[in-house]
């Protein structure tokens, strides 16, 4: 019996970045339907399911969502580590396919974050005097914000390596340039470095334009065998490497504020794939904030630790450069519904199918997607290819 080779054979995205006609379940469903159309797979063939809503009370929690979609999974995964969850799912799905646990695994994601936050003023608000259990009882009393957490990493990187706000801004500028090629992107007007560094400071040293957008959106990805994909509609995209690592969960516990777990997940994924950073044609990195992508570029070996600032100033990240970043516009300009990891996989796949239109990286053979979950905490790195060699 020949080896079972895992591939991505279907992708669907729901309506984004603003979709007041959909709730979270609606995003799951629309992306799922579009994935089925994209792949040509019959729904009844699906025997594996993955989704990341861990709250049993939520209408799109894993068990309920499988039931709603009418999937009876032989293989199920509800891992939930934030934005990188879907990169971890690729790691798990590839292993499950190789092992023969199931034949066709679907992961779905849906979020109406923008619509909720825009129509419900108290959405996500914390009540004064709330009682906080567990590890957060040592952090919550200090009023740090999500952005403040990432700012702590940026602050330390600037201190150790002399990284500047202008350098971080280059990442936002590159993503915005690519968003201009994506009709769905939330913001498309070109940006300059000056625009970024002159935007309002949110949590020093991160400005408003160092931060991702807030969107609605959803996605669905089909992973099956190379053999099954032969009869489907799209060229299979091979999962060459997929690995995960975590350094901490809460930001106060980050062992080194300038190094993420992508240093380990990346090393493992490259070793599995048998390729090196210089072989990669395009990167889809989780740009929750400019600093997130900068740390990943270093940790994944695209430049040395501490040299991310000068590296991003070379223009490598823009289409036409050596390593185009986030060719759909990224979280910084296109779409960030809360857990963006599935969009990284969708865009990497679009590039490797050579279906990216004006945003196509010419001759793209290898793409890397790296998700970040928590507060630079849980990292998942996936290397995809047009072929197995």
């Amino acid at each position: 019996m020949s080896a079972r080779v895992p591939v991505i054979a279907g992708v669907g995205l729901s309506d984004y970045p603003k979709a007041p006609h959909l709730d979270a379940v609606g995003h799951h469903v629309l992306a799922f339907q579009r994935m089925l159309d994209d792949s040509g797979l019959e729904k009844k063939e699906i025997d594996g399911y993955m989704t990341a809503q861990g709250n049993f009370a939520a209408p799109d929690n894993g068990g309920t969502m499988a039931e709603y979609l009418g999937i009876d999974p032989r293989y199920y995964d509800g891992t939930a580590v934030g934005g990188s969850t879907f990169e971890l799912y690729v790691q798990h799905a590839a292993a499950a396919i190789r092992d023969g646990q199931c034949e066709a695994i679907v992961m779905t994601y849906g979020s109406d974050l923008y619509t909720q936050s825009g129509t419900n003023p108290s959405f996500g608000a914390k009540q004064p005097g709330e009682v906080v259990p567990g590890a957060l009882q040592y952090e919550s009393p200090w009023g740090n914000t999500l952005i403040g957490a990432y700012a702590m990493a940026a602050q330390r990187h600037m201190y150790e390596y002399g990284t500047t706000s202008e350098q971080l801004a280059e990442i936002a500028v590159a993503c915005r340039m690519h968003a201009g090629l994506n009709p769905n992107a939330q913001y498309r007007k070109p940006l300059t470095v000056e625009d970024v560094v002159n935007s309002r400071m949110i949590a020093d040293p991160l400005h408003m334009l160092d931060c991702c957008v807030v969107s609605d959106g959803g996605g669905a990805i089909l992973i099956t065998t190379e053999e099954r994909a032969k009869d489907l509609k799209q060229p299979p995209i091979y999962i060459l490497g997929a690995a995960a690592a975590q350094t901490h969960w809460n930001i106060g516990q980050m062992p080194d504020y300038t190094v993420t777990a992508a240093a380990r997940s990346g090393e493992k994924a490259f070793a599995q794939a048998g390729v090196r950073p210089e072989d990669i044609d395009t990167v889809q990195l989780y740009d929750s904030f400019t600093i997130t992508a900068l740390l990943m570029l270093e940790d994944l070996g695209f430049c040395k630790k501490g040299e991310g600032g000068p590296f991003v100033q070379t223009g490598a990240l823009k289409l036409g450069g050596a390593l185009p970043l986030n060719t759909d516009g990224g979280a910084l300009s296109s779409c960030h519904p809360g857990m963006r990891g599935i969009f990284l996989l969708a865009e990497a796949t679009r590039q490797l199918r050579h279906q990216a239109g004006d945003a196509q990286v010419e001759g793209a053979e290898l793409a890397l997607a790296c998700g970040s979950g928590g507060w630079l905490s849980a990292m998942g790195t996936v290397i995809l290819g047009r072929s197995t060699s």
């Binding site: 914390k126 004064p128 906080v132 009882q137 040592y138 200090w142 957490a149 930001i251």
Partner: protein
């Protein structure tokens, strides 16, 4: 921005558990505790029921309440009560002289003066009967004996 002071009213309240109750009880006496492993010597914060390195049961270690700012952020946007009344304010990660790091607010300094390496000392403010919050202030320069 001038001198930054912050209150405690309305802040999140720790839920005391079998481990954290010892830590918070000490804060009411003006003591800042970390943990030390009697087996491997690892010191850790936050408090846990086991040593994060070797899984043995750790012991409490009273600190001097001094350290240096390891990293920080100046929070300028936060819509949540009670924090929005104190904007902008400094959230710091302090590396204690004993080794472990702890998050807190640095008060009493201009937010523009907060920097990595800044020497700070603890200053407790009661939050509830069962817990005081350890704030941080710039350590006063030592008075010369000469």
């Amino acid at each position: 921005m001038s001198i930054s002071e912050m209150g405690v009213e309305g802040r999140p309240v720790p839920e005391l558990d079998p481990v954290s109750k010892h830590y918070w009880e000490a804060t009411t006496r003006g003591e800042l505790l970390v943990q030390e492993c009697p087996s491997c010597g690892t010191r850790q914060f936050y408090p846990r029921a086991l040593c994060k390195m070797c899984a043995k049961t750790p012991e409490w270690l009273k600190t001097a309440g001094r350290g240096k700012v390891h990293t920080f952020s100046i929070v300028r946007q936060n819509g949540n009560e009670p924090f929005k009344q104190w904007l902008p304010y400094a959230v710091v990660v302090v590396e204690l002289e004993e080794g472990p790091r702890i998050m807190g607010n640095l008060v009493g300094s201009d937010v523009d003066d907060v920097h990595i390496g800044m020497e700070v000392s603890v200053d407790f403010v009661p939050l509830t009967d069962q817990a005081s919050l350890p704030f941080w202030r710039a350590t006063a320069p030592a008075v010369s004996d000469g």
